[in-house]
């Protein structure tokens, strides 16, 4: 029987396009220091440090070795995890597992990326297999999802895409850690530079430099560390096939097998949830572009195709709506990839704690969900709760 695990410390850097003043180690240390400060702990209280990012973004092999200088792992147990865009989510899962298993009491999870040191799309393209797909990549920027949304919903899809981006910009303007904090207008979204047809610049996430750190602890330790533990109720990971042509075809022919749908069903079944929009208070979703949110949210939330469009149009997903999505501003405003999935969990936890400051949602948050996306369309979901499970 697994022990109960709570998030007791949260730290982030101020995510930015340029961090020329620090090297990777120093940047990571900023988030580590912030998390220790938040938890009122010293590094000696941490038993184990988990570390992750995507190596081909900075070109440093096994950077966890170098990062011992700044992440506090000196002479401690630890592990490096790297699973593409889901890296931050995997580290959060691993942190939970390390504590729930009884092996460690207090574990620090470090996710980071210094995107400006490399080439984001190049790094993502190199994830494709070298025998076949690698020369044919557009990185994360594929218009195929958008094309099917436009096929099914016409101009309405483009309008909702702009609404999602406007909502994220509004939320990010209230989040001091977000990267792109400017509010945007419909015209700015519709007229922004075309990257890959029909994806425009403002539909897509930026390339950010940043780090995020979570400290998790066993139930016993958590009670001594904080008055506001955020309980990790559950997490589920669902992988997909590597060949991209098949992953994409999943959507139409065999859409039942999208990893988002399978992952969500598993999570809900294990936690007795039948109506997620009503039973979960908030969703920090990993959507690298607004079009993906529009499609995947139907799968995550067990809606009919197009159901999510209506939720956005009705303001349900706004910060003061009944089912806020990405009150942090989401991935479309902040994306240091190795950290991004961890930031989803961190931001969901901040909301449960009531510590999100100006971007705190209006309603009380008792249960929150965070998703991670990566590689060839695989998914991680976390379920967090205010009440002890």
């Amino acid at each position: 029987m697994a022990r109960r695990v709570a998030i007791v410390g949260i730290g982030q850097t101020h995510h930015q396009a340029h961090r020329e003043d620090v090297n990777q180690v120093e940047m990571v240390n900023e988030a580590v220091t912030a998390a220790l400060e938040d938890a009122q702990l010293r590094i000696k209280d941490i038993d184990c440090v988990l570390h992750g990012n995507m190596e081909l973004f900075e070109g440093v092999h096994q950077p966890d070795m170098w990062h011992v200088d700044g992440d506090g792992a000196y002479l401690k147990s630890g592990m490096r995890l790297t699973t593409g865009g889901t890296t931050g989510g995997t580290i959060a899962c691993a942190a939970y597992n390390h504590v729930a298993s009884g092996l460690f009491d207090t574990v620090m999870a470090v996710g980071w990326e210094k995107q400006e040191e490399g080439h984001t799309t190049t790094g993502i393209a190199a994830m494709a297999d070298p025998l076949w797909d690698r020369r044919l990549q557009t990185g994360a920027i594929s218009g195929m999802t958008a094309a099917t949304m436009i096929r099914d919903f016409g101009e309405r899809a483009g309008e909702v895409a702009a609404m999602v981006r406007i909502r994220d910009g509004e939320n990010a303007s209230r989040n001091p850690y977000a990267h792109l904090r400017n509010k945007v207008t419909r015209e700015e979204v519709m007229n922004s530079y075309m990257l890959v047809h029909p994806i425009r610049l403002l539909h897509m996430c930026p390339q950010s430099n940043g780090a995020c750190v979570l400290i998790v602890a066993s139930e016993e330790k958590a009670g001594r560390i904080t008055e506001k533990p955020v309980w990790v109720k559950d997490h589920v990971t669902t992988h997909m096939e590597a060949m991209l042509n098949e992953t994409i075809l999943m959507r139409d022919d065999l859409a039942e097998w999208a990893s988002m749908r399978v992952c969500a069903r598993k999570l809900y079944k294990r936690n007795g949830i039948t109506n997620p929009v009503n039973e979960i208070d908030l969703f920090e979703m990993y959507d690298p572009m607004v079009w993906m949110e529009m499609e995947w949210a139907d799968w995550f939330l067990l809606l009919e195709r197009g159901g999510y469009l209506k939720l956005v149009e009705d303001g349900v997903t706004d910060r003061n709506g009944s089912f806020p999505v990405n009150p942090s501003g989401g991935v479309v405003t902040t994306n240091p990839i190795g950290a991004t999935a961890l930031i989803r969990v961190a931001e969901a936890a901040l909301q449960i704690r009531g510590d999100a400051g100006e971007h705190q949602v209006d309603k009380e948050v008792k249960t929150a969900m965070a998703s991670a996306f990566g590689g060839t369309f695989w998914t991680i979901l976390h379920l967090l709760s205010k009440e002890r499970p």
Partner: protein, 152 residues
């Protein structure tokens, strides 16, 4: 298409990974490298808690997990802690073999710095030998602004 066809000689696809990166060294390392480039001076950083002097300098002491900002100039002379003679060729090497790597503790530093030792017959290399940095005439702001260390 039969089982036999699967026994054929394996096919190998020749590929390449080629990506240009740029790594920001940070403000502290920048200062260290600028001092090498502009003034041919070598600096370390002292930890306020454990008092160790790190060369090259960094901003965080890994043992104490604290920020450091006390700059300490160290000598361009030091002692060889250990060395290794490289005889084989690899594409990633900065110079043609044979060449010598040494870990050198500069006077005033508590850590060793990795660099080349040059101009010494390999039989005469010794742990504990005294060496001195030889700077390049044209310097760019990287560790190879020191060309190598020579025997004192």
């Amino acid at each position: 298409m039969t089982e036999e066809s699967l026994q054929e000689e394996p096919l190998v696809v020749h590929g390449k990974l080629e990506i240009p990166f740029k790594q920001f060294v940070g403000a502290v390392a920048s200062k260290f490298l600028i001092e090498l480039r502009d003034n041919k001076r070598i600096f370390g950083m002292r930890c306020p808690e454990c008092r160790l002097v790190y060369v090259p300098p960094r901003s965080i002491c890994p043992k104490c997990m604290c920020r450091m900002d006390e700059w300490v100039e160290v000598s361009d002379k030091g002692t060889v802690l250990t060395y290794s003679v490289i005889n084989y060729k690899e594409p990633t090497q900065p110079v043609e073999p044979p060449f010598v790597y040494g870990i050198i503790q500069l006077d005033g530093a508590d850590t060793g710095i990795v660099h080349f030792i040059s101009g010494v017959d390999h039989e005469n290399l010794r742990v504990g030998m005294r060496v001195q940095a030889v700077f390049k005439e044209e310097r760019e702001g990287n560790i190879l602004d020191i060309k190598h260390f020579k025997r004192l």
